[in-house]
Structure formats: C-alpha cells, structure tokens
Amino acid sequence: MKIEARGIRKGFRSGSHSLEALGGIDLGVEAGEFLCIVGPSGCGKSTFLRIAAGLDAADGGSLLFDGRPVSGTGPERIMVFQEGALFPWMDVQDNVEFGLRMAGLPRAERAEISARYLDMMQLSRFSRYYTYQLSTGMKQRVAIARALAMDPDVLLMDEPFAALDEGTRNLLLGEVQQIWARTAKTVIFVTHNVEEAAVLGTRIAVFGSRPSEVRAVVENGLPRPRAAGDPGLGPVKAEISAALGGAP
C-alpha cells in the first residue's frame, strides 16, 4: 500500500499550554517499501504512526493510502505499540489470535497461525503464559507476533526491538526482513537505533526536533539479507548519524 503524507501537522493542548509536535511532515512511502524513521525522543514519531494507523486525527495536511484518504482505524494498518498494549486478561496465544477472532476465523485456523508466529518469535513454550509472567522483551515479541498474525498491508512498528537483547534482536532483524521480502508488506518502523535502521530500511527518514519536519531521507540500496555488524552498513549509518546530529 502506497502512503503519501503531505504537510501533516499535529499539536497537543493541555490547559493553557500547547505544544506543536509535528510541524508538517512530508513523506512518501512506496508500496512494499520498508521505511525507517529515526529522530530525537519526543519529536513526534509515535504521534505520526498513530495518525497513520488512524488512531489520531492530524490537525492539518493530507494522508493518502493508495491515493485515497482513509478515516478511522482498521486491520489493514496494524500498529505495534511502543508500550506493547497486550491484553492482561488473555494468555499469549489468545492475545496473538485476538484480531483473527474478531475477523471470525475458525479456531483451528487461528491456532495454526498463532503457532507459526509464536514459533518464529521463539515463544512456543509460553503460549499459555499471561502477560505479567513475561519479560518486557517477551511482551514485545508477543506484540510483534500479534501484528504479523493479522497479515496487514501496512505494518506500523514503534520501537518494537527496544527491549531486546542483542541475540534476539539480531534474530528478529533477520526474521522481519524475511517476512517483509516474502509478503511485500509496506512497513514503517520507528527506532532510535541507527544500526537497526541501516539494516532494515530501504530508506530512512530522519525527523528533526519539535515541531518536527523530515530533515533528511537516506537512501539505502545495500544488498539483502543484511545483518547487524555488517561492515558495509558503515556509510549508511554515517549518513543517518550526520542527519541526526546536524542542524539544531
């Protein structure tokens, strides 16, 4: 799904205090592209994803999916929340199957899908655990499995790897690239980690600080599969870091 954001603005008001988070985001994402977003904390990356997911409305600008404006949220654009947002009253497997159940899939089919993604996230052993019994990194993996199980056109991922150890992260960097290559999903992936962005992104959008605009878009045509630590990533990482560190 092709996404075109033009001049997206969003501010927050609390009492007399108002804060301009997005100062006009222009960003095009081709169908099947893997776009990474990096930028300083608080610059509005999550806010932008929420608008793309249809959970918040922008104050101004236009947002088109395959050339059409979309109002509200829907399962074709699935968000992986920075906070995970797993349901504590369900076990891991029921969490992963939630959207499938809402869509009316029969039990056997749901079980097959959830088993596949839980296995991919190395959580098969924990399918009957409740969220309070999981570590933060495990919760993030459940959240990723839940999103993948929905098989959405667009995946909106908000720092999904932030709480993972290096080994798990490297593994998931590989898995996510594979899924993306196989399914041609359009992915917007927010991260603070320059290396992660260089491994995953076909392009990397660098947001400036509030009120944020897209400060630079770094092209990344390196051959795949890529892995963290590849020496070839050097120039792309340098370019991202330069854009992040440049201009106030």
Partner: protein
C-alpha cells in the same frame, strides 16, 4: 496456621466470657441467654428445618435481586463510562439514589408490589444496583486507552469491543462492585424481610422477637453473620484473588 490458632483461642475466649457473664447473674434475667441455649436453638432450628427454609428463602430473593442489580448496574455503568451525555445526566441521579439506604425503599416497594417476593427482590436490587454501576463505571473509565486502541486497530467494534475488551478490562473493578453489591443486598434482604414480615431469615428474626425468644434471635443473628463471613471471606476473597493475579495486578 498460627493465626488459625489465635482465632480459635479468640472465639473460645469470647464464648467463655459470655458464659461467665451469663452465669454470674450481673444482668437481669432474660437479657443474655447462655451460649448453650443459643446453640440449642441453632440445633433445633436446623433439625426442625425452619432455619434452612428461612436461609433458602432469603438466598433466592438475594440472588434474584443481585442478579438484576448486576445486569442493570453493568449496563448502566458501561453506558455512563462510554457516553459523557449519559454520565452527566443519569450519572448524577445514580450518585443521589446511591445515598438512599435500601430499607428506605421498603414503603415504596410495599405500595407498588404489596407484601410479595417481588417487593423484597425490588428492595434488594435497588439497594445493590448503584454500587455495581459506580464500580463498573470506574473500571471502564480506567481502562488503559492503548488496550482499546489496539483492539479497534485489530478490527474490534461494537459488541465485540464490549465483550472482548471493555468488560474483561474493567473486571477487576467490577468484581469489587459485585462484592459491595452483595453486601448491600444481604443487608437489604434481611432488613426488608423484617419489615415485610413475610418468610425468610429476617422474618424469623421478627417472629422470634415477637415471642421474646432472645436466644433464638441471637441464633439467627449468628447465622446471618456466618453466611456473610463465608460469602465475603471465601467466595469473594477467592474470586478477587483469582482475578487480581490473572490480570497481573497482584503477584
């Protein structure tokens, strides 16, 4: 285990003290029966069956009233939490009605329903419904907005959202509401039966009073207390523990 011993000793001591006061004769005759007389009346009530019949009658009225209160209270609480218009209008009325003791509904219930089961069930339901309403409202209001957003994002809406997310997410608060509702209902049913004078434990209490049978009055009060303890301390305690640990609110 140690506290079980303490507890046994405490109640043993209490009964012993009761016996001593009774035997000492400091109180005028007829004021305080001996523990033995009360136990005898309990045994009599149990063997003769009247006590069990009274318990069963009070219980079914309570369950009917509480059932109505839970159904109505949950529905109203969810509506108030999800619609500011309902909250601003019906919400204030709920707070007002909540301040009316259930016993104060008895005259109206008698006028509306006569001396019937329906009247007592009405008193029980109206006494319990607002506690359920208010706790359900609080529960739904306190749901992590990310949970609702994630559910909507994954395609949940309407009834699916209600039954798969709103109610389960609010359940820890709701169960507190059920517990409070039960407490109001239990007090309400005994009180209403006293005034309706129409079967049930409350009526047994009334009848025993008419016969100036102090020990039977005390025996029935013990039964009321014991049932309250069991439901509060066993049924609701267990349910709450299960819910709290399942929801990860307590380890």
């Amino acid at each position: 285990m140690r506290y079980a011993l303490y507890r046994a000793a405490f109640y043993g001591g209490l009964v012993a003290l009761w016996h001593v006061i009774h035997a000492s004769g400091v109180l005028p005759p007829g004021v305080l029966p001996s523990p033995y007389e009360v136990a005898e009346d309990l045994a009599f009530g149990a063997t003769e069956g009247g006590l069990f019949y009274g318990i069963a009658t009070s219980m079914w009225r309570l369950l009917a009233g509480l059932g109505i209160a839970v159904g109505g209270g949950v529905a109203l609480g969810v509506l108030m939490a999800r619609s500011e218009a309902v909250n601003q209008t019906a919400g204030s009325l709920v707070l007002g009605l909540q301040s009316i003791p259930s016993i104060a509904w008895v005259p109206l219930a008698i006028l509306w329903y006569g001396l019937t089961d329906a009247g007592i069930i009405f008193v029980v339901a109206v006494g319990a419904v607002f506690a359920v309403t208010i706790n359900t409202y609080t529960g739904v209001r306190n749901i992590d907005p990310h949970h609702i957003e994630a559910a909507r994002n994954m395609g949940a809406g309407g009834a699916q959202l209600l039954f798969s997310v709103l109610l389960p997410a609010a359940f820890p608060h709701m169960i507190t509401g059920f517990k409070q509702g039960w407490a109001f209902a239990w007090r309400g049913v005994i009180g209403a039966e006293l005034l309706f004078a129409f079967l049930g434990l409350g009526h047994l209490l009334y009848a025993a009073r008419s016969l100036t049978d102090v020990s039977y009055v005390m025996a029935i009060m013990l039964v009321i207390m014991a049932i309250g303890l069991v439901v509060d301390g066993v049924v609701f305690r267990r349910a709450e523990d299960a819910v709290m640990s399942r929801w990860g609110l307590r380890r």
